[in-house]
Amino acid sequence: MKTSIAKKTSTGTNGKRFKGQLAALWNEFKRFKYGMVGLALFMIFVLIVIFEPLIIPFKETGTRWRDITYWQDNPVNAAPAWTNWFSAKDKTPQETLKATNIVKQEEPSADMTFIDAEIHYNYKYDDPPTDMAFRATVMGDVSFMLSLVRPDGIEIPLFDTYTSSSTPNDFRVSFNSDALDNIFEFATQHEDPTASFIYNKSTLNAMNVLFSKAQYGILDNPEPLKGEYVFKITAATIGSGDVSNLRIEVAGKVFGILGTDNAKRDLWSGIICGTKWALLIGLSTSLISVFIGVLYGVVSAYFGGVVDMIMMRIFEIVNSMPLLPIIIVMSAIFKPNLWTMIILMCLFFWTGSVRTVRSMGLQIKEETYIEAARALNASNGRIIFKHMLPQLIPYSFASMALSVPGAILYESTISLLGLGDATIVTWGQILQGASSGGAVLHGLWWWVVPPGVCMALMGMTFAFIGFAMDTILNPKLRTR
């Protein structure tokens, strides 16, 4: 009878104490401005992860980051679009031009269908695009004919081409390769005949010619011709063939929010996609390793004696291994994927909290309620899990928050060496591309700076939260 009452009150106060402790922690935490800033930043990161599909223009970034065909319409190494605000010369941004005025004409006698369409492009920039690509979804036997009517009234035939496919297929023609002959001819007609001999087709910049005034100097020193350009498309299909989704992709000189890399990939999409992996790697690694470390420390403190000695020896051995080198070598040899990488990091990260937890555990062990629990014949597991671990929860939160940036850092360092999981895209992998793609050498800052800033921001987020909790838990540190 007596024991049951004692047990009830003991667990009751324990539960209440624990809840009260967390509430007190939160009340204290609210007073730290930087802690709240950290929490707000964390919420922003979580929102980014939740609304990722809405934020990124390239929806399949996560799965097709290394698929070059997915990115082929983008420009190479293009700066962000907003750099135009700071430069005197406006560079053409990336754009998708949709077909208008589509007219279908069936010719039943010849079993053919003719489709006429126009694509309007209002060109108002100083620096022409790097390339244009005509694209359509095509089925059956189809031939295309494209010509361009410029604002000055000149009509340039661009190319005619033919394709055949039995299933709906993405069809693509690049102007730089297929319209080159016609554009070159157009240029030589208008360039100073005494000067044009120095030019040849292989050095021709087709886009420069297409969007410049038809006058002497069109090759040598082109002047942009602004206005409404109309691309005229004529498609002819035989039999059951079909053409849809006619469009022209303008691969500009500037691109999107964060530009592109040397594989034409949209860096904004990549970085947003990397957010969830950074959070996943950071949070799960710190969660698992802190949990193991805290449990290890408590068990070691609780049992003491030989158990403590052996456990501390093991701890010291793991703690004496240089972390990064061993993780690098293990990644180089075992080629981990995302999950094995997290496990690998946990194998060495857990030591971080052991020493502090053990010394805290040694203190808690001497408390009277532990003694009481032991007198009531509570099992060791019950004492550890019910009475000792809850006391360490605030500390665990703090050290979890503080070990998140480390995990992200290690993953990115391993990725920098090219040992990352190739099925996902992380910030470290983007930086690895930048480092091997000569981004530093060529000053492609939009490729180098943003991923690092994101890592620093996320590190900062968790540092703000962790440092605030650390200060709460160590009242000594506030005044002198």
Partner: protein, 349 residues
């Protein structure tokens, strides 16, 4: 008494090293043996070529080489059961017998792994020790300044900055700085230890090295000293809560004397160890950083070995890095023992 402490600490760390090497050897046994086997095969192929002209029949040749292979396998204990193989791999590592590199060569053209790694060690030490010295000095000065007026403006914004750089990858800052100061505003070299070719004459040679050292050290210090300062602030503030400080203040001692006379002496051992400890951790975490500056040290060697998949170099490098790291830990403890009399006297307690 101190030497007894030194001896005990040394023995303990040697034992730890041996255990760690055995763990490595158990972890990486398969891949180490695969490389060893392929190297033996390569060697035999070479011998076969020179034997081909000796006029032996094909069968005799085959028999000869099968015997030779058995013999070599015997030497390297490749036919033993697994525990014995792991044991012998560990012994090889412990006796610094790392074998030959598969691709990487040393500056003199040797393929001996030991030689390849040893020539990198001075560069790594040069870079990280220079950074460490500056880092610790700046950190201590700033940390004390922060502790003098905790939660005042200076302490606040330096603490915020500490948190801002907390998750900053040093190597990324290195990339950005190279871009800024080597290509946009070309005032620093983009990497390496020396110009190619290095300048003649002692002083010019030295200055050239300093010039190349400047940017990587600068980046390391910029990222590093905040954390050191914050740690030192916390230790000093913790000590300031002690009773003897209160009694010193009660006796009317000036705040300066309290801080420098009483607090600093007591706080010195943890300050030194914590500062050096976090430094050691940051070095172990920052090794890769050398690769960004193409600084020919051990970190850069990891980078190259991973890219060329050179397992013997990777293993040797890991073993030597671990040895250096452990040495660092020992030195730390010895300094701690020197500063804190309780440790060296209480050897038995």
């Amino acid at each position: 008494m101190y030497w007894k402490y030194v001896l005990r600490r040394l023995l303990q760390s040697i034992l730890t090293y041996v255990v760690i090497i055995f763990i490595y050897s158990a972890l990486f046994n398969t891949v180490m043996e695969a490389t060893l086997r392929s190297q033996i095969n390569e060697q035999l192929q070479g011998e076969m070529m020179s034997f081909a002209k000796s006029g032996l029949s094909a069968e005799e040749l085959k028999e000869h080489f099968d015997n030779r292979k058995e013999h070599l396998y015997e030497i390297y204990h490749l036919n033993d059961p697994i525990p014995s193989r792991i044991f012998w791999r560990a012994i090889d590592t412990l006796t610094l017998n790392f074998g030959n590199a598969s691709n990487i060569r040393s500056a003199t053209g040797s393929s001996d792994v030991m030689e390849i790694i040893v020539e990198k060690i001075p560069n790594t030490l040069l870079l990280f020790l220079t950074a460490a010295v500056i880092d610790v000095i700046v950190g201590i000065v700033l940390g004390l300044k922060k502790a003098q007026k905790p939660n005042k403006r200076m302490d606040r914004w330096t603490s915020i900055l500490t948190m801002v750089v907390y998750g900053l990858p040093t190597w990324w800052l290195g990339m950005v700085m190279i871009m800024l100061f080597s290509y946009v505003i070309p005032i620093f070299p983009s990497g390496g230890v020396h110009n190619v070719p290095p300048p003649e004459g002692g002083l010019a040679y030295f200055l050239d090295m300093l010039y190349h050292l400047a940017l990587p050290v600068l980046v390391l210090v910029i990222v590093g000293f905040w954390g050191r300062a914050y740690l030192i602030r916390n230790i000093v503030l913790g000590t300031l809560q002690e009773d003897f400080i209160m009694s010193a203040r009660a006796r009317g001692l000036s705040e300066r004397r309290v801080l420098f006379g009483h607090t600093l002496r007591t706080a010195a051992p943890p300050i030194v160890t914590m500062a050096l400890m976090s430094l050691l951790a940051s070095i172990s975490g920052g090794l890769i950083y050398e690769g960004i500056f193409s600084w020919p040290g051990m970190g850069n060697l990891y980078w190259i070995a991973v890219q060329q998949n050179d397992i013997p170099v990777l293993m040797g490098n890991l073993a030597l890095t671990t040895a250096l790291y452990l040495m660092g830990l020992v030195v730390l403890d010895l300094i701690y023992g020197l500063l804190d009399p309780r440790i060296k006297v209480g050897g038995k307690a």
